[in-house]
Amino acid sequence: MKVRLDKLTKVFPSRNKRSKEVVTAVSEVSFEIPAGKLVGLLGPSGCGKSTTLNLICGLEKPTSGRIFFGDEDVTDLPAELRGVGLVFQNYALYPHMTVLKNILFPLENLKGDKKLSKEMMLQKAEEAARLVQISELMERKPSELSGGQQQRVAIARALVKMPKILLLDEPLSNLDARLRLQTREELRRIQRETGITTVFVTHDQEEAMSISDMIVVMKEGVIHQSGKPQDVYDDPKDLFVAKFLGTPPINVFDGEVRGEKLLIGGAAVLDAAGVRDGAVKVGIRSEGFVPSADGALECGFTAVEVMGRDTSVICSHPAFIGDSIRAVISAETPVDTTKPTVRFDLKKSKVLLFDPKSEERIRFDEGANG
């Protein structure tokens, strides 16, 4: 089912009772989640991701704005009637119930014509358990399970009613690194198999980029950009989004455009047709560097790190903002490590310009691009 948020705003009174200040956790958030897709809601900690999920599932009431499931306005519908599944960040499994009882609980709550027979409930619970591969754990208590197993139980409990929408709040953050990789593939598989419209929250951009059909990037309660992961990565709207996506992170330089040329540290590095003269911030993706003996950008050479197929060249530049530049090149490309400097040509599609004040993207002239 399609979900549409229309100018959602949530204002909390301050947690400090004496203070009159308020916290705007979510501000005028509008976006549409296409039916049957897996959407990653992405942003740094405290940016309002959980609040957005809680608004969708009905645990919080919006201060203003509307929420639609399909064509139905559910803004005033209480959580228990919205028919969504939610996986809590800390799972919130009922500690006094076995795994089976936990999974049965949502089914036992069904009333009226949705009420199921005992056998039907058991069958559905077993189906859900099979889907997340915990069939052999049904008689255990949550305290007897590992973090990964608890997480699967939480997903099974959220899925057993076959909700129209599945929401997951940082589902992978409590797992160790290896389990996290494995579980995120699992999540993708479960979502594909069930076809349920799914929103999952994360502060880990790699996680979101790797499994989402669509990502929504938030900061301080405001949506900065949404779209297909690769599109947002290639064509970020502002410096925040560019910096937030990508490992290693984008390299940012102070630069200048003069006479349709892009200058970094005074040296002309690229054509900048159609860009007005003035100071700019220059973001260069780590894969945008091509080592070349007569390259336009000259950097101080620091070290080379070989990691499997790729090589990272660590270097420095006076106009660089941050600690050290990281250029990722293919392992076959020779790099002269004896010289104190290294020269690069730049791939234009991996170079992004931003207004130094507003940090909005400045585009190269469309026609001259490429």
């Binding site: 209480p78 009637l81 500690p95 006094h96 409990r157």
Partner: protein, 295 residues
């Protein structure tokens, strides 16, 4: 082995105290209860046997005391625990002035039992000058007035029950509000998402979550109610046998020190019967709790 010895050394002072002030008197009571015809002046007795028990078990005052105690237990334990749960749920759900209400509900706990008794007198006692506040209300709704302190048995039992509930309520509310407060909001949110009705949230989430505290209150409630005495004194004075409102502990006291006192053997036999009752009930409670309580 060496560690064990050390542990025992640390425990020794406590064990000595327990021995002197608990084990010895208990053993002494046990011995007294089997000594027939004990004379406290000469400290002699005529024989050993069950005569004390058969006397006590046939004594109409004791039987009345047992009946009173059981009625009191059966009424006040469920009523006070249930009422405390309802009030705690209420306290837990309000946001404004929560602390103020918590303090108000806790006040009776720090008030002296006898002072509360005085208040109950004003409410219930008939005097030449007044019928008591409750009777004034009864008359207002055109009922017949009742003497709650010197009148019929049911009226006296009613007042005693209300009084006992009133006395034990604050502590139970205190325990239950903190137990309810410690249930994480996440479970309630999860239950809401799972579509649980408020009754099912209460019965399937709240009660199991606070069940250890609930059972603690029920067990100590039973024990406390079986040992009740001062509540009865506060309402009906020290001559409880005459008022027909004696309790088992009251009977034991009377046998030792009362106007008809001086019979430590009878008192001991009654004390052991009380011990057997409390012990049985507690064991049954613990057995039920093992099945029902989530730890």
């Amino acid at each position: 082995m060496k560690n064990n010895l050390k542990a025992f050394l640390y425990l020794l002072p406590a064990l000595v105290f327990l021995g002197v002030f608990m084990v010895y008197p208990l053993a002494d009571v046990l011995v007294y209860s089997f000594e027939e015809g004990y004379n406290s002046a000469s400290q002699t007795f005529s024989g050993i046997g069950l005569r004390n028990y058969s006397f006590v078990l046939r004594d109409p005052y004791f039987l009345q005391a047992v009946k009173n105690t059981f009625i009191l237990v059966m009424i006040t334990v469920p009523v006070s625990t249930g009422l405390a749960l309802v009030i705690s749920l209420g306290l837990n759900s309000i946001k404004k002035l929560k602390n103020l209400f918590q303090t108000i509900y806790f006040l009776p706990y720090v008030t002296n039992t006898l002072a509360v008794g005085l208040v109950f007198m004003i409410l219930f006692k008939k005097t030449p000058y007044s019928d008591g506040m409750v009777n004034i209300l009864v008359r207002l709704f055109s009922g017949t007035t009742v003497d709650f302190i010197d009148g019929p048995y049911w009226a006296k039992m009613l007042v005693l029950s209300i009084y006992t509930v009133w006395i034990v309520l604050p502590f139970k509310i205190l325990i239950l509000t903190s137990a309810l407060g410690s249930v994480k909001q996440d479970y309630y949110n999860a239950a809401k998402i799972d579509g649980a009705s408020s009754w099912r949230v209460f019965s399937r989430i709240t009660v199991p979550m606070i069940s250890p505290m609930l059972f603690y209150l029920i067990i100590t409630g039973f024990i406390g109610a079986f040992k009740a005495y001062s509540d009865s004194v506060a309402l009906f004075g020290t001559n409880l046998n005459a008022a027909g409102m004696n309790t088992i502990v009251g009977y034991i006291y009377d046998m030792l020190y009362g106007d008809s006192g001086g019979f430590p053997s009878y008192a001991s036999a009654a004390a052991l019967i009380l011990f057997a009752i409390v012990f049985t009930i507690t064991v049954v409670n613990l057995m039920i709790s093992r099945k029902r309580v989530h730890h």
